[in-house]
């Protein structure tokens, strides 16, 4: 059981170096299209190619390093909660410009409370609307940061 957990952790730990390798690969391919150096003047591709090359080497080193993995004894992540929180943030980024700042923010606050395990009743909605209104006053009225009006406001 522990061995399986350890293997799963070891595979999961490769997510980061693999991600780095992908980023470095994309950067290298893209940098090849940049203008060449002109004589003694180094071109715009020099730094990205040096850094992406070094990142690829280090990521490969990390990928094949022994003993990689998070602590198998550590408790698992509450993935459904983290996923819902991430979805709420993405939903906010998509919908807030359409709905408007106050309504969008009140919904996000209520959603977050629900995700964090708070029973969203009148208190939760009052908190959401109240906090959204206070933030709107501070940013839009006092600091003159134009916040999206949207359909509802």
């Amino acid at each position: 059981m522990m061995n399986t957990a350890h293997k799963t952790n070891a595979w999961a730990a490769r997510v980061v170096p693999v991600g780095m390798l992908v980023v470095a690969g994309i950067a290298l391919v893209e940098a090849l299209r940049f203008p060449e150096s002109a004589g003694d003047i180094p071109g715009p591709a020099l730094a990205p190619m040096l850094v992406a090359g070094a990142l690829s080497l280090v990521a490969i080193g990390l990928l094949f390093r022994r003993g990689e993995g998070s602590d198998p004894e550590a408790p698992g992540e509450p993935w459904p909660i983290l996923g819902m929180l991430l979805a709420a943030m993405c939903g906010y980024a998509l919908l807030m410009p359409l709905l408007g700042f106050i309504s969008g923010t009140a919904i996000l606050l209520a959603a977050c409370l629900k995700i964090f395990g708070h029973p969203v009743g009148a208190r939760g909605w009052a908190f959401g609307l109240g906090a959204a209104f206070v933030i709107w006053v501070v940013f839009d009225k006092l600091m003159r940061v134009p916040l999206p009006q949207g359909w509802i406001g």
């Binding site: 980061v16 990205p48 850094v51 980024a93 977050c112 964090f116």
Partner: protein, 495 residues
């Protein structure tokens, strides 16, 4: 410092708005620092958007207040509830909580506040004496030296970030690569835009830091909820004369050490606090029982971490290199207000530079007063329902990212970097090197290429200039030290 500079900086600091925001920052910072799981970096990152509409001095005063307040605030739950508010306060738990169990929480809190003030003042005096000298020396630097300095800053944070040097190095390289997005500093050629013109000026710094430090912190808080074990509602009183005398030398020694650690790029207040605690413990006299409620065990880490705040400002103000992750975040505030920290700050904007130094000193004293009079009320806030707080942090983070350019793209950047920050930390990759690389990357690239242009393409330019050769040598040494420290035998001494 001449009279014009002195009066100019005094006028900047005496502005009622500056004083008010300094106090607001201290209160906000102490509250955030006292809430377990929320760091000084998060406090500063969250408050930067509130400074958009302010001029530079009130904005910096607030952020300095937040920084000093948060560093102290973390010790309140460490002493009262055995739950450090910030990682830097973990060393305070060892003797602070046993004092609480003995019914001496008030004594522990008083000594913690006093030690923080003494350490902070020692650090600030050194900062005032040394920062202008370092800045004046750095005015002689040319492109090779600036490149070497950026490399040194990065190598230091890679080697002291803890854990594997490969992991720290990979994160720093990722940060350097991200820093190349946008217009090339020499030729103006657009790089890695992928059709998105809003990236022309590069990946915006503030959404990145909000994602890495605020949103990632919320993910972490959800992932590992902190249980607070409350034993007392304590308060703070003036420290007794006997405790003041007993801890004086410990405070001075720890303050000097904390300043030195803070001034080392990459080494933060957590390292300073643990170093000071372990030295105080090693030097324990007969009858001093560290770990069982020894008052010097509270004084040492408190003095060191507070001094570290001033120490971390030293490389930031004099060289433009942040000393830790909080000062790295503060660079965002400087840039936002059109001021470049570094050697030219003292030469071109001396009044502002000295006003910042004075604000650091005043902050340490005000934190002491806030601790004496406000701890009782703070304890109630620490015990509040954290779900409301976390929900508010999510909204303030996303809004803070949006408010910079009123561009939803920045909100997406904050969310992406929130996920990146959480993932990196989950697999024990330090996040601070990424942020420092984002700050130092453009400086390194620009000066690297300028040096090559000036030397007609010869890489020898970096080694024929004595200063740049020395700094690069130090960078190599620090990386070698980091590699030696992170070798498997050092990580697992038991085998």
């Amino acid at each position: 410092m001449n009279f014009t500079l002195f009066s100019g900086s005094l006028a900047l600091l005496a502005d009622p708005m500056v004083v008010l925001l300094l106090v607001v920052g201290i209160v906000a910072g102490t509250v955030v620092g006292a809430l377990p799981g929320l760091s000084a970096t998060l406090a500063v990152a969250l408050l930067i958007p509130f400074t958009f509409d302010l001029s530079i001095m009130p904005a910096l005063a607030m952020l300095i207040g937040v920084y000093c307040g948060a560093v102290y605030g973390g010790s309140i739950p460490a002493i009262l509830f055995r739950t450090p508010g910030t990682p830097a306060s973990a060393a305070t738990v060892f003797d602070g909580y046993p004092l609480t169990l003995k019914g001496q929480s008030q004594r522990a809190l008083s000594v913690a506040a006093m030690s923080a003030m003494i350490g902070g003042v020692i650090g600030t005096v050194l900062l005032i004496l040394l920062a202008p000298q370092i800045a004046s020396f750095a005015l002689r630097f040319g492109p090779p030296e600036y490149f070497a300095l950026a490399v040194f800053g990065l190598s230091m944070i890679i080697s002291v970030s803890g854990g594997s040097i490969l992991k720290s190095g990979s994160v720093a390289l990722l940060g350097l690569l991200i820093a190349t997005v946008g217009m090339d500093p020499i030729s103006g050629f657009p790089r890695f835009l992928f059709g998105n013109a809003s990236l022309m000026e590069g990946i915006p710094f503030i959404p990145v830091l909000i994602g890495l430090f605020a949103l990632a912190e919320v993910f972490r808080a959800v992932s590992r909820p902190v249980a607070i074990e409350q034993t007392t509602t304590g308060g703070t009183a003036w420290p007794s004369a006997s405790d003041t005398k007993l801890c004086l030398w410990t405070n001075v020694r720890s303050g000097l050490m904390g300043t030195a650690v803070g001034a080392t790029p990459g080494a933060g207040s957590d390292i300073a606090a643990f170093m000071a605690y372990s030295i105080a413990r090693q030097r324990a006299k007969k009858g001093e029982h560290f770990g069982e409620g020894e008052i010097k065990g509270v004084a040492a880490p408190e003095s060191a971490k507070s001094a570290c705040v001033s120490g971390a400002m030293m490389p930031l103000l004099s060289l433009g290199i942040p000393g830790d992750s909080v000062t790295a975040v503060m660079v965002g505030a400087f840039i936002l207000h059109g001021v470049q920290p570094g050697p030219l700050l003292f030469a071109q904007n001396g009044s502002l530079a000295y006003a910042i130094l004075a604000a650091v000193a005043v902050s340490h004293v005000l934190v002491f007063l806030a601790a004496i009079f406000g701890t009782r009320y703070l304890v109630r806030i620490v015990s509040c329902d954290r779900r409301f707080l976390l929900a508010s942090i999510v909204v303030l983070s996303l809004l803070g990212a949006f408010a910079l350019r009123c561009n939803m793209m920045d909100v997406w950047i904050a969310i992406i970097f929130g996920v990146v920050g959480f993932t990196l930390e989950k697999f024990s990759y330090p996040v601070a090197p990424l942020l420092l690389a984002l700050i130092l990357g453009p400086m390194a690239e620009e000066n690297f290429r300028r040096s090559l242009i000036l030397s007609e393409g010869s890489y020898a330019a970096f080694f024929t200039h004595p200063l740049s050769a020395t700094i690069l040598g130090l960078a190599v040494l620090s990386l070698l030290y980091g590699a030696w420290r992170s070798r498997p035998a050092a990580q697992n001494p038991a085998g």
